[in-house]
Symmetry: D2
Subunit: 343 residues, 4 copies
Amino acid sequence: MIRFDSDYIEGAHESILERLYETNNEQLPGYGMDYHTDTARRYIRELCGADVDVHFMTGGTQANMTIIASMLRPHQGVIAPDSGHIAGHETGAIESIGHKVLELENSHGKIAAEQVKIAVEAHWNDPTHEHMPQPKMVYISQPTEAGTLYSNDELTRLRDVCTHNNLYLMIDGARIGYALASESNDVSIEDIARLCDVFYIGGTKVGALFGEAVVITNEVIKSDFRYIMKQKGGMLAKGRLLGIQFEVLFEDGLYFKISKHAIEMAKRLAQAFEEKQIEMYAPATTNQIFPILTDAQIDTLKTEYAFHVWEEVGASRKAIRLCTSWSTNHGDVDALIKDIRKL
Amino acid sequence: MIRFDSDYIEGAHESILERLYETNNEQLPGYGMDYHTDTARRYIRELCGADVDVHFMTGGTQANMTIIASMLRPHQGVIAPDSGHIAGHETGAIESIGHKVLELENSHGKIAAEQVKIAVEAHWNDPTHEHMPQPKMVYISQPTEAGTLYSNDELTRLRDVCTHNNLYLMIDGARIGYALASESNDVSIEDIARLCDVFYIGGTKVGALFGEAVVITNEVIKSDFRYIMKQKGGMLAKGRLLGIQFEVLFEDGLYFKISKHAIEMAKRLAQAFEEKQIEMYAPATTNQIFPILTDAQIDTLKTEYAFHVWEEVGASRKAIRLCTSWSTNHGDVDALIKDIRKL
Amino acid sequence: MIRFDSDYIEGAHESILERLYETNNEQLPGYGMDYHTDTARRYIRELCGADVDVHFMTGGTQANMTIIASMLRPHQGVIAPDSGHIAGHETGAIESIGHKVLELENSHGKIAAEQVKIAVEAHWNDPTHEHMPQPKMVYISQPTEAGTLYSNDELTRLRDVCTHNNLYLMIDGARIGYALASESNDVSIEDIARLCDVFYIGGTKVGALFGEAVVITNEVIKSDFRYIMKQKGGMLAKGRLLGIQFEVLFEDGLYFKISKHAIEMAKRLAQAFEEKQIEMYAPATTNQIFPILTDAQIDTLKTEYAFHVWEEVGASRKAIRLCTSWSTNHGDVDALIKDIRKL
Amino acid sequence: MIRFDSDYIEGAHESILERLYETNNEQLPGYGMDYHTDTARRYIRELCGADVDVHFMTGGTQANMTIIASMLRPHQGVIAPDSGHIAGHETGAIESIGHKVLELENSHGKIAAEQVKIAVEAHWNDPTHEHMPQPKMVYISQPTEAGTLYSNDELTRLRDVCTHNNLYLMIDGARIGYALASESNDVSIEDIARLCDVFYIGGTKVGALFGEAVVITNEVIKSDFRYIMKQKGGMLAKGRLLGIQFEVLFEDGLYFKISKHAIEMAKRLAQAFEEKQIEMYAPATTNQIFPILTDAQIDTLKTEYAFHVWEEVGASRKAIRLCTSWSTNHGDVDALIKDIRKL
């Protein structure tokens, strides 16, 4: 079985394991107070070109719930696309800390500034608005769950709506490397740091064993984040493990190099489908591609390959999702292309 | 600086890093559904001699809050020693999920069955008991925060009080290896599995990079634990990392071997203090020792060694805490012993 | 200004105030342990024809959150129509206690058994169901927010789906008097007690100053409800006030008599609209009617009458909501009818 | 049975019932938006001599949890005497909204500024303070659970400690009328409004059917309180009921007059005990008195009177609590005095 079902099917980039090995016997303080973590913080600060706060956490659900807990008062809710990870794939983690996810209909994973504007104005124009959760932040992902990208223009408009309506903007960057490496992308990491109040740079899906680097850009919400990390179970005892991994990923641009590799692998697969004139459910811009196959074609491929069936598209046709990653090798891609051609 | 301030100052046992390296390119499903994790579960089940459920989480606070969330209804509280980790060192994690920690006065980190009995009977005898959190579980640690051990007899009596009062018994085993390896210990892991409803086997402080193996022995509370793990941010995407580590720790008894080493290192230090006729704050039975030093002695040692100042003992004397671990080497211990002799 | 905007615009039925006056100097224990409350409990038990537990609370949001808190584990969610009170009009009260409201599209305020079946089966058929809140109860209202009624057949089918899928069924009966008094109704209060696990009988909107009688019919969820009432701030110190009010409402059928009056008043208004051939947005079966008016007609009426604009229906036409209640008098209805005729 | 066991054993002052009767048919908007509530707000604002926000809630637990929810971030805790109502008599309501109650040892119900200072400094001086709940507010009661009073000087010192340590000061005034009416009192309501950030004026125990007037004096924490009231189930549909009651209590000083009556009744009882040379457990300054009786004396009195046994005082002697209130009549007091003389 060759797996294209997710971007976290293998361990970590070899350089990370090597560095963990080399630093293994260093005696260091815990909880992210070691010098590796400080170095990683500095790399990310430089990358963002801003005086941001950086905290390292082990996973995305943990990062999402900690960030949102640190920013909202009890009666406030978070606007998100109904396809967003916090809306549907975290077992109600956001509700478990007391906040309603205010879902807007997604369009290939995205929501538009205008939708946010309408929702927020509807809230404030309702004379009974005190009887509804108050929208206070917008959560989006770059790239989205559907592998699509917000353009610089789209993000800027979201930022503007947020600013005018006193909302925070949060970007879930669990796969942000694959956004930054995409040919279709026009949003730099400095743009992201400038446009949102908080975001995170995903390691779990981009070369690390695990880890997300939370970046807080808004001065107002910087205070006491570490207390809340600890309270929500997100402060790793051996914080060095996170620091060292992000140090390796960012000291020489490894993060960007391996992200680019994933994109190239996805592109090779996309071309193979294109040659067979197999339609895509959404434009293939990042490391996820969504070809629309017949049930028969799906049955054929699934004997050898692991992937997700994404959504029905008419009768007996379905979009599937194939993920490449930093670890995808040419051999596996060659094998799949060969089998695509035979479909 | 030589560090004796905690048992998580270094990375992981070399065998773990090697195995992570060897398995790095295996393509495996996420979230603990891989075969390594299954193997680790089996090892622990065999060790406990019972049909327990085993779940792997990254840290202790996370394990504590997830276990307690899965077991209590909203109005129920958890009895714990006032020195317990959940009482004082998790930034209110248990309160953050809605439950009051009902603190009992500790005696060198321990609470007695009789104390629990008195507290629970006081609750039920109070005519206004509906106006107070209902005690529903007892949380203790083996070894305790003070490095002491519950005897088999003490644990059995706690179990009996719990059974008679319809309480769950939970054991935090973040350092359980060091309890099991102690010469003073008469409680086996089978005893623990038999006597409590849930406990965990700590990896973070005993040779792993990170990880706690939660063991649920009570059939009633087994259901849906994975939902709550996910909700509380405690389900690692690459669950294999936890499975592989516990596989290594338990396939050939490594866990016990390295725990024993830590105990031997602690013993060497304890003997050095004894030779100097320096008193201990609590009996030195596990990997933590608590010599009582003068302020001058503390000042001398702290130029070269990292350790915690634990508690004032009379005027200008304080108990300090020195931790050994799986990673403590003879060289560091030799150096410290030499300096103890010079005190 | 004559108010038809809600069914809680006046105080209480005169008999209630009189009884409060008469009993004012009785010295009674607090927290619902007095004999009036016991009598009220007995009346309701007799009415339901079953050995139910009865608890009195001051308001609907409070009742909803307390009931749901007492029934769900942390990872479980509650299915509700998207028009349900808990979905949109309680400032996220259910999320504030940790649970996601799993919204289904309403049809004039109602959801169908088949919708619930599809949602629940979708959950369990999803291989990643542990990453989503687990549906564990269904919340509906009788009558609904749109004034419509579930038939006995519809309720029975919902009950069957719940039973087959191990879900609780909860009925919000804030206006249940107006359902029971409706000519279109074929569901008795015994039916309700038999078909659901928990429901409540609203007093606030049906003649009382305030108060909802929570009725728990399922043995499994009866335990410790009073603890949770107290914790959620819903245990009234002078519980007698609730007991006395429900005693008056149910000792001689006052509740049913005044509910019937409200229905008659609504019917008179509905007929007046019918005579003018003004269409209804939803069938007028209870104390709420929803005529569709032009913007000009709305402007005319709102100079003299208070009511809610409910929803746009095409261009420059809107459904409005007019509420009658136990307190609506013939004079106010006559005045409005006269003005309807002039439209 | 004559009841001296609490100050909420009867209904309400007659004037309140009369006013409810007179205003019963007024058609008014809900949720505290009516003119009676506005008038009551104005009275309280004038009383406080400051531009405070005033909100009316039905009970103390509800008020406490709503106030604290509105003021704290998730990782923050509230300092309280261990005898405080939130510490021991609200079934963990504060923990249920996520916050730890940081208990300090009480001295006859009170805590001193110095205790707060020590606790807060201990927090900030601990290098691991991020692993503990951050103290952010101080909760006290005036009068305390033990019927004692803070002096102006004591309150001023608490305020100073709070100001210097960036803590909020909250005063639970469930029985504040009895504090203001006490001869031992030197703290006016203007003092309270000036010294704390938020407090409430209790109605439930001082003449109303129910109701607490929450007074927010600190500008920073005024925003959005009504959202949180609604979310926590504390916004009464017929808010008029609260407005009308506080209107009656404060339009002509009724609140102060009936409070004074309770104090006089308590004083008569205290004198009777004094004449018998029966010692008091705490000074009898408000409406609660705590004579220390032998078990035999207690047995005698309890055949005719309801009261609480408060605490053991040596062998076979106990302090009991007798409560007077706005509703205590001379006849009942005469009867008890007669029986005290016979002891």
